[in-house]
Symmetry: C2
Subunit: 122 residues, 2 copies
Amino acid sequence: MRIGDVAQRAGVSTRALRYYEEQGLLGSERTSTGQRTYTESAIERVQLIQQFFTAGLPSRTILQLLPCVESGHASPEVFEVLEEERRRITAAMADLAAARDALDRMIDITRNPTPEHCPSLR
Amino acid sequence: MRIGDVAQRAGVSTRALRYYEEQGLLGSERTSTGQRTYTESAIERVQLIQQFFTAGLPSRTILQLLPCVESGHASPEVFEVLEEERRRITAAMADLAAARDALDRMIDITRNPTPEHCPSLR
DNA sequence: CTTGCCCTTGACGTCAACGTCAACGTTTAG
DNA sequence: CTAAACGTTGACGTTGACGTCAAGGGCAAG
C-alpha cells in the first residue's frame, strides 16, 4: 500500500503519517524510487497511535509504549509510564466530568430560570 | 485584593489573570495608580474559567458562556453552544475511556505475558 | 507523449494559553 | 528612607501535531 491508501483507510492525513515516521512511531519500506510502502498492520497501528494522541499522550511517550505492544513485554520503567498515564487519564476524565456537571447546572438554570439561581451554580 | 492574592488563592499565575482580562473573561477595578483590584467573587470565577479551560473549551467559547452564569439566562444560540460543548465533553470522555482500556490491556499483558498476546491487544 | 494524480523532501505557518524578560512605577516593612 | 516585594505594559518565546506551500519526480491511462 502507498501512503495515500493508508491515510484514507486510517482516516488521517498523509502529512500525519510522515510526521509519525519522523517521530519513530511508524515504519515503512521504500520502493526503488523512494516511495513509502506499508503493510496492512500499519492501519491498525495508526489507529492506536491516534487513540493515544486523542488521550493527550505526547509522541515521546507513545514512542516508549509502542514497542511494548509488539513485544508484549515492558521494562519496569515503561511499566511505570503505563500506570502514570493511566492515572493522568483517570484524572482528566474526572476534570471533564466536573466541567460537564457545571454545564449541566447552567443548562438546567437557563431552562428553569429562578430568582435565586446564583447559589446553585456553585 | 490585588492580583497576587487572587493568583495565589485561585491557584493560577498573575500572567494568567492578565490574560483572562485581556480576553474579556475577568473584570477588575483599578486604583488611582493603575493597579488591579478584585472582589472575592473573582476567585470563584477564575476557578470556573480554569475548569472550562481544563475541559478543552477555548477562551472565545468561555466568553460566550460566562455572561449566562451571571444572568442565569441564555439566548438560543448560547444554549446551543452549551449543548454542543456538552456533547464534545461526552465524546472526549469516551475517547479517554477507550485509551485507558488500551492501556489496561497493555498493563495486563505485561503482567501476565502470553505467547498469544497479540490478538488481545485489539 | 502527455495529462493528471500520486509521491518525495524541505521549510515555514498555525493556534492557544500562557512563560519570560525588559524597563519601569508602587506599596510596604523595618 | 530605603530596599524588598509587588505591580504595570509591551513584546517576544514556547510547545506539539500537524497544515500548507514550493519545487520537483513517478506512474497508469488515453
